[in-house]
């Protein structure tokens, strides 16, 4: 710190507003013997010491004086009796007053009689002090012990307070930990539930897709089942011709939906570039539709929409070139019995 900074900190020192490091810095500077800072501090300390005079006077309780008078030791303890006092707090008045008024060392007398007189006095004083010291040592020790006990008690109370505080803090911490644990558990549970819901959702999706795929497959079958339950649907059975003696089939016609259903079994595999063609025959054959039987296939369901063939008496399936023909050109494979 510069001298200017130190000088500026003097009023703050007097008001008690410096922190420990700044206070120590200024005290060290004052001890170095700076006259201007000494003078300034003396002024400001005088002001500071007067400040409480500006307070509204409050009288102490009447009983306090009696308590204090009763609490004294019989005699004050001489300063020499307690040379090893513990370090005093930094605000101890003696410290700053040391800066203000450095302890005065008595001027040495040049006069021999004075010196002798002083020496004699010193001997008497020392002798008296030792005599007094022996007789009062006990009471001094007792008072010192009492003071130490009081100090110890105060420190113990502070310690107990701190212990309580630490205990309270620990309790709060434990509660917070429990809460965190609880929250963690809840989060884990929520995560588990989420995973479960996701799994259920996935299952539902799978089921949904299965159902939708089934739906794409099943409509004709469902429709066929429904068709079979309709009383006025027309049913025609077909048998295999000489070309395919093991073949058979039946044909359903629902006039309401105008749909023909041909269910055929055991028809031989279609040769290349050939196809089966279903005919409704009344006056002349009417093509209803074509279908193929591939290798390994034993049954086939053909569904076709036909406006009307209520008068048709015979139904037949012939083998025709791919794409079918307007009239049957190939051999018959299935024929209705009618």
């Amino acid at each position: 710190m510069t001298h200017e900074e130190l000088e500026e900190s003097v009023p703050l020192y007097a008001a008690g507003a410096l922190d420990r490091i700044e206070r120590q810095a200024l005290e060290a500077h004052l001890l170095s013997g700076c006259a201007s800072c000494h003078s300034a501090l003396k002024d400001y300390q005088s002001v500071a010491a007067l400040l409480p005079l500006g307070l509204s006077p409050t009288k102490p309780p009447r009983s306090l004086k009696a308590t204090i008078m009763a609490g004294r030791n019989p005699t004050p303890i001489p300063a020499e009796a307690a040379p090893n006092e513990p370090a005093r707090p930094s605000l101890e008045p003696g410290e700053w007053m040391n800066h203000l008024f450095p302890p005065v060392t008595p001027a040495r007398s040049s006069s021999l009689p004075w010196a002798l007189g002083l020496a004699a006095l010193l001997i008497v004083a020392v002798g008296g002090y030792f005599a007094w010291n022996v007789s009062t040592q006990r009471s001094i020790d007792t008072s010192n012990i009492k003071r130490l006990e009081a100090s110890l008690q105060e420190k113990s109370a502070t310690l107990a307070g701190l212990h309580r505080e630490v205990g309270d803090q620990a309790k709060v911490l434990a509660e917070l930990r429990n809460e965190i644990q609880q929250r963690t558990n809840e989060a884990a549970e929520a995560k588990e539930q989420l995973a479960q819901r996701e799994a259920e959702l996935e299952d539902t999706r799978v089921q949904l897709s299965q159902q939708s795929s089934m739906r794409t497959v099943r409509p004709p079958q469902d429709e066929l089942a429904t068709l079979l339950r309709i009383p006025n649907v027309r049913v025609v059975s077909l048998t295999g011709s000489d070309m395919a003696k093991r073949a058979a089939g039946f044909l359903l016609y629902d006039s309401q939906t105008q749909k023909v259903w041909l269910y055929s079994v055991n028809l031989p595999e279609c040769p290349a570039a050939m196809t089966y063609q279903l005919w409704a025959i009344y006056d002349k054959p009417l093509s209803i539709g074509t279908f193929r039987m591939d290798r390994g296939e034993t049954a086939h369901l053909l569904v076709k929409k036909v406006p009307s063939f209520t008068n048709a008496k015979t139904f037949a399936v012939s083998l025709e070139p791919s794409g079918g023909r307007p009239q049957p050109t190939g051999p018959m494979y299935l024929l209705s019995r009618s």
Binding site: P11, D43, V47, L64, G71, P76, A79, E165
Partner: protein
């Protein structure tokens, strides 16, 4: 301030302390009578609590009785010495209390009746003391509110400038300036009063 204690010294005669040094119980009783109202007012202002202030005063006076021989007449006025000792012990208590997380159970504002009741002059208060009390009160009241507040936080609550800055949410430099200006103004006003017997 070449005559810093013309009036303050009139409150307690330094020879009274000299008699206390010799173990004069009557002198000790007189010392109490002359200083206890001032010291109790200071303790109540710092601690905000009458019971604790009474406990503190008991400690201070017993300390004075035991260690009074440490006081040197050449080291300042008895009042300054007693005020500084009381303030120091009260601030120590305040800090110990803060360390325990304890707050004052009753503030000064909570006890206006007690203050009003005690406003009368002490039977031991001389004319000079009354004048000094009024002069100091007027000098403090004459400060701008912000300077007064900063000085009081340092002086009566033992806060450092940094702590005051935090408390008031003000820049550190501002707080330092307020204390410096306030103390400087108090010094000038009181010096004027000492020199000419009138306030600026």
């Amino acid at each position: 301030m070449d005559k810093p204690s013309r009036h303050a010294t009139s409150m307690i005669d330094p020879t009274l302390l000299a008699r206390v040094v010799k173990g004069d119980q009557q002198a000790f009783s007189q010392l109490y009578d002359h200083s206890s109202t001032l010291l109790f007012s200071l303790a109540v202002r710092i601690l905000g609590n009458h019971e604790e202030a009474a406990e503190l005063l008991q400690d201070v006076y017993l300390e004075v009785w035991r260690k009074v021989s440490r006081y040197d007449v050449g080291r300042g006025t008895p009042v300054a010495w007693l005020v500084t000792l009381t303030k120091s012990r009260a601030i120590d208590r305040l800090r110990a209390r803060a360390a325990r997380g304890y707050r004052a159970t009753s503030s000064l504002e909570a006890e206006p009746a007690a203050q009003v009741a005690d406003l009368g002059p002490s039977p031991f208060e001389t004319q000079a003391d009354q004048e000094l009390r009024i002069a100091v009160g007027a000098a403090v009241a004459g400060l701008p509110q912000a300077q007064q507040q900063a000085i009081e936080l340092a002086y009566y609550e033992g806060l450092s400038h940094a702590e005051i800055a935090t408390r008031l949410n003000q820049p550190l430099g501002t707080v330092k300036t307020r204390i410096k200006l306030g103390m400087s103004k108090l010094r000038d006003v009181l010096q004027q009063w000492w020199n000419h017997g009138e306030l600026q």
